[in-house]
Amino acid sequence: MDFVLETKNINKYFEKPVEFHVLKDISFEIEKGEFVSIMGKSGSGKSTLLYILSTMDTDYTGELYLNNTLITGQKHQELSRIRNKHIGFVFQFHYLLSEFSVLENVMLPAKKLAEKSPMEIEQDAIEKLRMLGIEKLATQRASRISGGEKQRVAIARALINNPSILMGDEPTGNLDSHNSENVFNIFKRLKEEEGLSLLIVTHDEDFAKRTDRIIQMEDGRILH
């Protein structure tokens, strides 16, 4: 099968403040173009899992595959490159670089990747902003725009390198219902029009129900 993301027996322990088994034998896979949400109570380990999948957290046992290549055990430098090229990430709190303009924020990961010329990158960035309906904000400072707009900019930034998968850690958690709806629709459209794979951690049941598949987590295990 053509999996974009695959995990085999991932286990993780927190050692502080007391030893705690956060993730227990997590094995699942995500197909190309699938829109998956992870649900679970606070402390069920869903965010912890997401950060392992995002390659930012390397302190775990088990195996992680991205596009059928083993990621586990790679060097930090290499992981940064993989994150840059293959994974788009959207956080709960927008997390833009407030000193930079919207356009620069979106362009930054592509400039880091440096596979295209600055001109091409700028065109791509404007293209992404237009797709999300915020191209008129391009020259604004990132600190001057509203919360919903910030989240859309963050999505544009996550998409700039045409990643294999988009991950979100409660991307709608901090937004009102109107903006949440907006973000969901954007995700849906990305999946349908671009064939993007998405993995979203969420508390929002309405949001989760409309995704292709829900991974329910409890006490560090996947229930179904």
Binding site: S47, Y51, S54, M56, D57, H76, Q77, S80, R81, R83, N84, K85, F89, F91, Y95, L96, L97, S98, E99, F100, E104, L108, P109, K111, K112, L113, A114, R157, N161, D169
Partner: protein, 420 residues
Amino acid sequence: MINWKVILNIAKTHLLTKMKSTVTASLGVTFGIGAYITLVSFMTGLNKMLDSLILNQTPHIHIYNEIAPSKKQPVALYQEFEDAFNVVNSIKPKQSQKKIHNGFPILNYLKRDKKVYGATPQLRAQIFYLSGSIELGGNLIGVDIMEEARLSNIGDYIVEGTAQDLKNNENGILLGAGLAKKMSLKEGDRVQISTIKGDVFPLKIVGIYQSGIADIDNIQSYANLKTVQRILGEAQNYITDINVKLYDINQARAMANSLGKQFQVKAISINEANAQFETGSNIRNLITYAVSITLLIVAGFGIYNILNMLIYEKMKDIAILKATGFSGNDVQLIFMSQAMIIGAIGGFFGLIVGFVLSKLIDNVAFETEALPTITTYPINYNVWYYVIGISFALISTFVAGWLPSAKAKHIDPVRIIRGT
């Protein structure tokens, strides 16, 4: 692969949006470097001036015939007293002339030596200056004045008249400034001198000599070598001293040793003659550098502080950069380049501030009786101080930037993003 353009762009944006901190940090470096340049230029300028005051009047090698007792007393030559314990009371110096034996052949030998820049003969005579019934004791030095002017800076110390005037006048004298004052004499007047033997000669004052050292100016005058030989009634090969100037002052000690042995004369190098002086300037240099380095270290702490604060403020940014694919090294480079930019800009302005302050000091009037050639404070414009200044600015900001940026490198983005 390091993408410098992106990294420098981020560094630039950080610096520009935090203009106040940037300026404060740069000013720290600017003042540190500026103070260093000013201090070191001024101090070494003063050192150089004081050194030259003494050293320029001291030849690299001074050759003369020392009046001393024989090392081997005659009694030691007697075989009969060989095993005895001999006591000789009131030893007298060996009967000998003050002149250097074979002075001119030695002079010619020295002039042919490739290491020697020049050698001049001198004849030192004890004389009295007569002013009415008053006799003032002093020295008259017979010199080859044109050669002397070429090799030493005696020309700077002739405050009235010129070296050429002395050469042109058979009976001329360059009178010490202190003497001229005491005897109320000026250029063009005549002065009577008397030798130890009692012969009196009138000499015409063609110039006034002021070394800045009162002890010299009160007793010493210069005349032509031939004049002094004539006054003393000695032959034309009678010289008491030879002053040698070398191309390389560092060879003075070794060469003085070999000359002393070769010609059976006393040869003293500049190092021996002015050992205490060198110690003095070394200590002054040490103080200059200690103060300068302290200033630069203080500036370095300023940079360390500001970068540390900047990194605390930018925790979230660092987390985002890492999440979007910037590696720890990239993040460290971003902050290191900020430190280096602060160092380079601050250091550059420091050089300018240092130069301007030096210029200002250089134009402040500083006139003193003791130093006739000095009219303003001395400044040593040595390009090396500027090279050292900018290097130190870069090195200290590098060190100051290293610790905070290494911390930024190791920030765990997950912890920041999850807020734990």
